[in-house]
Structures are given as C-alpha cells and as structure tokens.
Amino acid sequence: MGAVLLALIAGLPMGWALWAAASQVFDASAWQALWTDPQTLRAWCMTLWTGLASTVLVWWTVARSLASGFIRQQLARWLSHLPAWLATPHAALAIGLVLWLSPSGWALRLASPGLTGFDAPPPWPTTQDPWGLGLILALWLKEVPFLLWVAATQLQREDLRRRWQAEFALAQTLGRTPGQAFAQVVWPQLVPRLRWPLLAVLAYGLTVVDMALIIGPASPPTLAVLAWQWLGDADVAMLAQGAAAAGALTASVAIGAGVTVVVWRAWSGLRTFASRGSLPQRSPRQFAGESSHRQKIPNWLLHPCGRLPLQPKGHSSQHGHSAAGLSRSRMSGLALAIGGAYLAVWFALAVGSVSGVWPFPQVWPSLWTLDAWSQVLGSVSTVGTTLGLAAASASVCLVWSVAWLELAPRRWQQALRPWCLLPLVLPSVLWVVGLYSVALQWRLEGQWLGLLLAHAVMVLPYVLLALEPAYLAVDPRQSAVVASLGQGRWTDLLRIKWPLLKRAIASAWAVGFAVSVAQYLPTLYVGAGRFATVTTEAVALASGAQRSLMSAYAALQMLLPVLAFALAAYLGRPRQFEKIGPMKANP
C-alpha cells in the first residue's frame, strides 16, 4: 500500500515529464530542420567522438585500478580519496582545467618565457580545442571517480567482499596468478553490477552541456550544446529543433549502448574462443537471482596486473620482478595522475579566486585580493538558493529512498530499478524539456517548488544508488532477533537498523546534496532564469574575462559539497568504544 503510493509519488512527475518530452520530440518538421541544419552532422560526430572516447578511457582506467587495488588490498585506502574527487562538481573541474590549459593558463606561464619565448599568450585554441581533447580529459577525470565509487560500494559490501575474497583465494589455489584470479572470478561478477553505471557514464559523455560549454569545442560545439542553445531560443521553430536534437541525443545514447554491447559480446566471444587461461566449469556457483550471463574480460585490459607476483610471501611469477615493478609503477602512475590533476585543479581555483592583476608570463599574480570572495559571499540569494535547493532535494530524496527500501517488496525494487535510474541515462536536455512542460502544466514554472521538483528528479537515482547496497547488506535475521526480543518495528528501525545504517544514510544525503549543487540545466530552464545558483553563475562567468570571480564561484561550488561530505562523515562516524587492553583468551 505504502509502496504503491511511493511509486506514484516518484513515478508521476518522472512519467509525466518523459511523456511531455516525447510528445515534443516527435515533430516531423523539426527533424527536417535539424537534418538540414549545416551544423548538425559535424556536431553529432563531435558528440560521438568525445562521448565514446571518454567512456572507453574511463572503463579501461577503472578496470585496471580495481584489479590492482583489489589484488593489493589497497581499495580501502584509495576509496578514502574518492569523496573529495566525487564532490568536485563538473563545472568546477572544467573551470580549473581551463585555468591550467588556456593560452594564458598556468601550464604556459610556467614554461614562459624561458622555454617558449612567449611574452604574450599565444592565439592557441587550447581551452576549447576543436578536437574535443579538453572535453575528453575533463570527462575522464570526472567519470573515473564515479564509476570507481559505484564499483566500490559493491566491493565494500560485507557479504560480497567476504565471498569474493574467498573465491579469489580459491582460484589461486587452483593455480591462477592473482591477476588471473581477479579477472576470471571477481571481475565477471562485478561487471553485471556495473552495466547501468557504465551506461550512465556513456550517456553523460554524449550529452553533457555545462562541461562542454566551458571546455568543449565551440565551432561546431557538441550536439548537446547546440540543442541547449536552440532550446533557449525565443523562436518556436528553433525550440522544436532543440527538442528534436534532444531526441537525437537520446537515440545516440541508445545506439551507443547497443554498439557497446554488440562489440563487447563479439570481443569476449573471440577471447574466450582463443584463450586457454579461462576457468572452464570451475566458475563459482551462481547465486540465485543474479544474472547468469558471465562475461569474460579481455585479458589485455588487465594484462600488466596479471603478471604481478602473489602477495609478497612465497610465490614469484616466472616473469620475474622487473615486470612486476614496472606494472606497479604504471598503476600508481594512473592513480597519481588523477589525484594530481584534482589537486592541480583545486589549487588553480584557490589561487585564481584571490588573484588580482596577473600579467602574462608571471607565475604568480602581482596583486592578491579577496574582492571576488566578498562579492561571492555577498550574493546571499545565490548562495541561499543553492544551499536551500540542495538540502531540500537531498532530504526529500533520502526520505523517499529510505521509505522505498523499507516498504517495497524486493521484487518491486528490482522491477522498478531501471525506471529509477532513467535520469542517469537519458540526456539532461531531454529531461529539461519534459520537466519544463510539467512545471508549466502544474503552474510551477519559475517557482522554487518547480525547481525543487526538477532537482529531486535528477538527485533521486544517485541517492538510491548510494543507499541501496548498504540496505541489501543488512542481515534479515537482525530484525528477527529484535522482534523475538519483544520489540516492535519502530523500535527496530529507530534504535537498531537506522543507527547501524547511519553512515550510509548520511553519505547518501551528501551525495544528493552534491548532485543538486552541480545541476545546471534544470536550474536555468525550469527556474526560467529567475534563480541563480553558484553553478549557473560559474558557468555563465566561464566565457568571460573575470577570472577571479569565476574561480571564486567555481571554488564555492566545490566547497559546498565538500562541506556536506564532511558533515556526513561526522554524523556517520562509527561509535568509539572504550579502549581495551590486550585481550585475555577467555572462551
């Protein structure tokens, strides 16, 4: 009963928005106009190139990182860095990269005039390069932490972790190297759980607008940026063309997903046929309810790790230590590159936000000032709107998710899961078209409540994704014990279950907060331009020349989620028990 109500609460606005979007997308004359527009085809090719290239890079990086992290049991240590990376909003990351890569950016300043001989910024297209390389780099940096995080929520689940570690050890007793054991036993079980998140990465890469506005190519831009520009047009025909472009983007995501699946199957079929290293019939027992489809990872993906010797004791692989040493340094190089890039971005934002006069080849500003910060913090309504929206949408989505996970039968949760994740995999330009129609019809357009609705739709899947693994890991016998002690359901929830889940609950809220802060399209479009958040300000300033103000907004955009994560870590901290001395073996 409650579950039906919850499904309706979430399903009604989402279904309505999708319906509204679909009814606008199918307009023959708009498609005609889209097709004949001279920019369309080149923009679409740029979209495919940046989206597919970044997705392949992300997948490769994540596969290698997880393999090496799992084998060397360093996942937990790495994961401690993830929240900071995740909390960095797309726009802030892109702006930070621009501060480095632009012709007047730090990279060239460090090399000028000594190495380059420049005493003025060269007219190089390094920020919005026509090849989309900057956009691919930004997408790669942003999406690797996301996919790692989703994988980590699975790998850190107590039940899965134990099982996989046991199976991993077992495979080694059957004569596999740690790399092979991971590739053949753990990874194939992890991959099916990463399918949706990977689709989200692909969809994001193909349809991102805010990042592409800042660091993507300009002429032509990607199709998503074009669609966004058309959607902002006052001309009804252009508006319809924008909606059609949103439809084309949706189709691109579907095609991209289809092609990925086909290529993957063909490739892994080939590898299975050709390889001798797989575990025939020895794969661990399939668990009930899990997909029976097992995918083989191509060996080249994990190759270097496949040659790591076993955990130092005892074994050594026939390839010797030089190969191992090489792969180790290569692996940590990858992690270092990402970590280093984030540090560089934060540093650039911090310095940029307090810079005053800063003539070109100088490495440091000649004048430092807090003007930008006082202006940013003085814009009380902007900061207030950002905080209010983020806190409200994260809280609404958290309450909904907890209620859903408590009340809905497991079968429903599985059946409706793909629907909950739709906001992750459909282009945000499509969503804003639909959400704007809903806001219009419900008379919420340009209202705070309409904005909250739009944000909540985008935030919900992340909160649910963050919370679900912890919920699934709860031992059902725990509630049986509580009930058998004569305590009712509310006592169980309030005193046992939720307190034990408080860490997951707090971090799910922070994730929702961060996602809301980073929203750009829904804020502008559904808010009808009446509401400014730190994100819309930062993106708007990115094309201008006010470096310090842009940096300050971007820095604040990044700081707010960090504060939310810090708050979540504090609220979710595990209880500190009284310290005890060495235990006596007292049975």
Binding site: S484, L485, L500
Partner: protein, 218 residues
C-alpha cells in the same frame, strides 16, 4: 488448556517445493526438543514458522508459505507478529548489535515496564551468569566466540520469553568450546521452565535423547 508449545504443520514450503508436511510437535514447559536433519530439510524454516520470521528466511528466493497452527500455553500464535509472540530466538551467529556495548545489548532486551534501577540490576545479573562481569562496556566485536554466544543467550532470556528457539547455537564454535557451552546453555534454559526447541545437525548437541525428532528431505 494446554501448557507448553504445540506445533501443527500441515505444509511448509514454497509454491514450488514442500519442505515439511504433517509435522506435529508438543514441547512441555521445561523440556528441550531437538530437531535434527540434513541441511536443506527445513529445520530452520520450522523455527521461523514458530517465531513468525519466515520473511527473513526466504530472502532472495520464493516466499515460504506456512499452513498450520502454533500454540503457546493455549494461546494461538499463528496470526501474531513476531514481537507479540513471546518467543525468543538465538541464531548460530550471535548477531549482537554492533553499535551498542555488551551491556546495552542486554539492556535492550529487558522489558521497559520495569523501573530503571531494576533493569540495570538484571543486566548486571546476566553479565554475572554469563561470566562476563566487568566486560559490560566492551564493544561486542572484541569478545571471543564463546563470550558472544553467551551474551546472545542471556539477551534472549532477559526478554522473558515464554518459549525459546535455538538455531544451531553451537555450530560456529570449536569442539572444546561446544562441550563447555552445552551444559551451561541447557542448565540456563531449563531453569526458566519454558519449552525450548533446538535445531542441530550434530548428534552431540542433543539435549534430551527422549525428545529428538529427525526430519528428512522431501
């Protein structure tokens, strides 16, 4: 009016498979009935049917259906939710609440109708009976397996159950520890004068050779 635990199972199983059929058990107060059988025969499901926790057994599979009746001291429990049945349950894992100290775990079970001082006194007494005096402020994860098992039993008894179910309570312990723990557990539950059902697959665990029921896989 019938004192003790009366279990009448017409059928227990999923839509696809019957686990237990036509099983009728009567456990008088103060007696321990041992249910034995190979794994998968439905021993634990019988306990879940008695406690009303079938939902926690069927996780991920088809839901378990129970046709039959459970009576405790003449009271029909069949339609009651678990927390109103007065049936205690101890699993093979102690399942101590990780965010509470040992003493708080015990206190959680003491009926809240009692005055606070008396509730604390019961916790102290339970700690003493479990030979854990002085360890009340400990994080439960720092206890040994035997200590945890004793806390789990004391916690179940503090809730003053009118019947107690033990689901392979010794299976996670080594042989020596089992031999020490068994008489301690049996003495404590007999003292309460309540009907007890013990599930095990180890012949050594049998509490009362007069009261053993063997289940077969169907």
């Amino acid at each position: 009016m019938n004192a003790g635990l009366q279990i009448d199972i017409e059928r227990l199983g999923t839509v696809a498979q019957t686990l237990v059929q036509d099983l009728h058990l009567n456990v008088p107060a103060g007696e321990i009935l041992t249910l034995m059988g190979p794994s998968g025969c439905g021993k634990s499901s019988v306990l879940a049917a008695i406690a009303g926790t079938l939902a926690s057994v069927s996780e991920g599979l088809l839901p378990l259906q129970f046709e039959g009746r459970v009576q405790l001291n003449g009271r029909d429990l069949t339609a009651l939710p678990t927390h109103l049945r007065g049936v205690g349950f101890v699993f093979q894992d102690a399942l101590l609440f990780a965010h509470m100290t040992v003493a708080e775990n015990l206190l959680f079970a003491v009926p809240r109708s009692l005055p606070p001082a008396q509730r604390q006194a019961r916790v102290q007494q339970a700690l003493q009976e479990a030979e854990l005096l002085g360890l009340g402020d400990r994080d439960p994860s720092t206890l040994s397996g035997g200590q945890r098992a004793r806390v789990a039993l004391m916690r179940a008894l503090l809730a003053e159950p009118q019947a107690l179910l033990l689901d392979e309570p010794f299976s996670k312990l080594d042989t020596t520890l089992r031999a020490q723990l068994r008489p301690w557990v049996f003495a404590h539950v007999r003292e309460r004068r309540i009907p007890v059902v013990l599930v095990t697959h180890d012949q050594q665990d049998v509490a009362d050779p007069q009261r053993v029921v063997h289940l077969r896989t169907t």
